[in-house]
Amino acid sequence: MQRQDIEAAVLLHAPNVTYATGFVPDATDASHANYRRAVAIVPVAGPARLFAHPSVNADPTSLDVLAESELWPELDDGMPQLHRVLHESIGDLEGRRIAVDAVTGAMARAGILDGADLVDASRVVGPARLCKTEDEVACIERAQILNERAMEIARQHCVPGARRSDVAGALLAELRRLGSDHNEIDPIFQVMSRRRTDGVVTDVGEVAFPTGIEDPEFAEGDLVWVDGGHGYEGYASDYGRTWIVGRDPNREERDCFERWKSIMGATIASVRPGATLADVARAATDANDGTRPWLAHFYVGHAVGLDSAEMPMVGSDLGDEFDAGFVLAEGMILVLEPIVWLDGVASYRAEEIVVVTADGARVLTSSPGYWPYAGSDDRLVPS
């Protein structure tokens, strides 16, 4: 904020509020999350003020910020109070440079921020959130370990005759038993067709994933792309694997996995401080004989933090120039997710989270098991 002459940040988007204050709102449907938003007001000289609804999952009194009673930025009725606290914290807004991440209809109608020079809060919070501290990495690792443990239970339910929703229920229940009440996505267990054109495809004819809308009954031999994430202290995990329902992989499926493993190994080996995103994308592509091993609407890697997908993104449609100009630094996180697709035969997709260390990268996982392809002692890179 100091570098950009921004005098205050008004934050309404949950990950930004969490970053500024430590408060983690309940993981609820977006409609509930919008109405029951926590709000953070951060003057450049500090301290951050937090206005939060009572939460089932958090105790705001434990935080080193000023925790105050809730605001209702969705409601016209909530505007007098919001106006009052903004002026207490910032004073007259006329001509002042204020960072904000959302302006609700009620705020616009009441002219709450009129006269201020508004900029996107992502310009402030985005760069601050790029490099993770040791504590942040520990939260992501903890989230990932719990996610892996719950997925171990879920996969035991992914059997012929079970539905996606049953497996999702087993996962969500196990997360709850492990003490997590912060699931962030309706878990994905998507049955993939063997031939690209037999399934749903994107506008450019690629595999559509994750559609997240069907509740299929699994049959023996189904290839299931799995993806799920929950948060620990607000920090997200990202579990990705490919499962086969009810049987061991055949030779073609195993070959597909082995190819994926060599691509993942080469991609991880390219991650180090000073490397660019383009270097990482190139390592993945070179290991796949010159073809990009990812879907055009996505990327081969993205960061995870208080958002489940955040900057930087590797190989996205931000373009090659963006990738070439973005240099990795210690503390950055990448979730790498190459895909091997042998059309008409098999596919394999899985994800690993790595943190950029002083001289390379470390995989955040307790046991990178690749059931039913390989055991938990099967390491991608020497640890």
Partner: protein, 320 residues
């Protein structure tokens, strides 16, 4: 499942509300607003999202356009030509938006939220347009429920009740049991955060769930034989009821009456909020009086409590 007739009805309600508010285009970033207007099934994620053009409704063409790279989940009321693909690149997104028929020539564009960068992008894409807040426009369209919406909410409430029963059946495993029981009905999306606190003689439970886009929920103090908490607040939710009427009926200072449909909706009334609000026939409300919570339909006569079972009710397992 939601019928095509309901999807058409919802879109028509949005278009009528746009006409009343003199809006040429409505840009919706909120998932629930987009789902209401377009009815396209998409992946659910928890929590707030940064504002983006998730759905665009154009009054002159009557079309809804949705951000999606594929047609899975596309309802029969939309065409594949109504989709624009996902992108991480703001310049590419601006290009997609500029191609939406009727957007670049719009005079008045309504938004359900806005960010500084979207306001700037809109000024470039539609130079002649004024961008105005329209969260109240879509809220008004959503406020009174169609009969099919009421039945969808009733079914979601029945699923939430199964969650409560599962907690009572195996109290040692609490909410995990509720999650499994509701998932067996195909329901894996929560609305509010579920809670179950044990008491000497039972449990305080509150469960909210979204099934086929519509919310259901129930809360209260329960013993093995059923719910023992009581409240006069649901019965006070009659057409014409005022803030004062609700205040008099509530037993707990911590009462909340809010709209319920495709999630949390307007109106919102508690001790401080909604003092000028009057309840209208056709509203569905989540009515909380302390730990007790019911879902209530406001009718011309006695309010109908949708969260308690009708005698003949059976819930069939959801079709895949």
């Amino acid at each position: 499942m939601t019928s095509d007739a309901l999807l058409t009805d919802r879109r028509d309600r949005v278009l009528a509300a746009m006409a009343d508010a003199d809006l040429d285009v409505l840009v919706l970033g909120r998932q629930d607003d987009a789902n209401f207007a377009a009815g396209m099934h998409r992946l659910w994620t928890a929590g707030t999202r940064p504002f983006g053009a998730g759905c665009i409704v154009v009054r002159s063409t009557g079309r809804t356009h949705v951000l999606s790279s594929w047609d899975a989940g596309l309802p029969a009321t939309m065409s594949v030509d109504d989709l624009y693909p996902a992108t991480w690149n703001p310049r590419i997104m601006a290009g997609y938006l500029a191609e939406v028929p009727g957007l670049s020539t719009a005079r008045r564009i309504g938004v359900d939220e806005v960010s500084p960068s979207f306001a700037r992008a809109a000024a470039r894409i539609a130079p002649g347009a004024t961008v105005v807040p329209a969260d109240d426009v879509i809220a008004a369209a959503r406020c009174r429920k169609a009969p099919e919406e009421i039945e969808l909410i009733r079914q979601s409430c029945a699923v939430a009740r199964m969650g409560v029963e599962a907690v009572l059946k195996d109290p040692s495993d609490g909410i995990a049991r509720a999650i499994i029981a509701m998932a067996a009905q195909g329901a894996t999306i929560p609305s509010s955060a579920p809670s179950a606190r044990s008491l000497p003689d039972g449990f305080t439970i509150d469960i909210g769930v979204i099934v086929d886009g519509y919310e259901g929920g129930i809360g209260g103090r329960f013993i093995a034989a059923g719910r023992v908490s009581r409240s006069k607040l649901p019965a006070a939710c009659r057409a014409g009821a005022t803030h004062r009427d609700l205040t008099l009926a509530a037993t707990d200072a911590n009462w909340l009456v809010r709209g319920l449909g495709m999630g949390f909706e307007k109106p919102v009334m508690n001790t401080r909020l909604g003092t000028g609000q009057v309840l209208e026939q056709g509203m569905v409300l989540s009515v909380s009086d302390g730990e007790h919570r019911d879902v209530v339909l406001v009718t011309a006569g006695e309010p109908e409590v949708l969260s308690i079972a009708r005698a003949e009710e059976t819930v069939e397992r959801r079709e895949s």
